[in-house]
């Protein structure tokens, strides 16, 4: 899974730069708000659309640039993330867990927006969307134009992906 050459040319962002922004934003959110220090791995070569026992948080953006930033993680890791964020035990999929993962997506969206937007008014962020389940798929209409970075935290893998397009 890599950034399409035409998209990279139109956005003026290379895959390496976008990967760097995603890694930096994710590590900032996790170290500051979740008290975890995730380690990034090489960007994925193949798309991941099917998830098992996982939760996905997504924030869309529209304007000069449009796209989606998403975080996908196993429910067991999401419970630890939520517990750390709230300072109280979370051991089930509930509103707290959904809200926490949505808020992480929101903070990641804010960081990406800061990179993409000149002053903040030309790119609008959506309200977060959260999906969870034992077996589900997430498909993008522009899957080939994504950058997806795997991270390891607490011995478990999670993914942060960015789909990006520059609007004419």
């Amino acid at each position: 899974m890599s950034l399409n050459a035409d998209i990279a040319e139109s956005t003026k962002f290379t895959e390496e730069r976008l990967a760097g922004y995603i890694i930096g934003a994710t590590q900032e959110v996790f170290t500051t708000m979740i008290m975890m220090d995730p380690k990034d791995e090489f960007p994925m070569r193949e798309p991941v659309s099917r998830f098992k026992c996982s939760i996905t948080g997504m924030v869309g953006f529209a304007g000069t640039y449009s796209g989606v930033i998403s975080i996908h993680c196993p429910v067991s890791l999401a419970m630890k993330i939520t517990s750390n964020m709230l300072g109280m035990e979370c051991d089930e999929v509930n509103d707290d867990l959904n809200d926490a993962i949505g808020e992480i997506a929101n903070m990641l969206g804010g960081s990406v927006k800061q990179v993409l937007s000149k002053g903040g008014l030309d790119v609008k962020l959506s309200i977060p969307t959260v999906i969870s389940g034992e077996d589900y798929t997430v498909n993008s209409l522009s899957d080939s134009d994504c950058v997806v970075i795997p991270f390891i935290a607490e011995g478990q893998k999670f993914l942060v992906g960015l789909t990006l397009k520059k609007d004419d």
């Binding site: 959110v29 709230l86 804010g110 000149k118 903040g120």
Partner: protein
Amino acid sequence: MANILIVDDSSTMRKIISRSLRQAGLTVDEIFEAGDGIEGLGVIASGKSIQLILSDINMPNMDGLEFVKAVRANGNSTPIVMITTEGGEEIIAEAMSSGASDSIKKPFTPDQLQEKLGGLL
């Protein structure tokens, strides 16, 4: 001791802000919560004594910019600090020109809250 109103559509973020205010050693008495600007205006209209308002920008129903404008349009001069993922200069400038007192970017640490809010409490 100050009463604080937190306006944010994320219940997680409201809890984190509440905890961070206490961790930062700020003199907080009662904390009121609202899930969007409309709820925030409702809390203010209920007549509760509030010395500081912390508001997100990107919220459903009524966003933080509309909320700030509505509070000021009602003649309320309570300090409002935007706590938001929105770090762009233009959007922060719009918030400030609408009547916000300051802004804090998410993610934040308790120390950053203390630094920004210490002088307001």
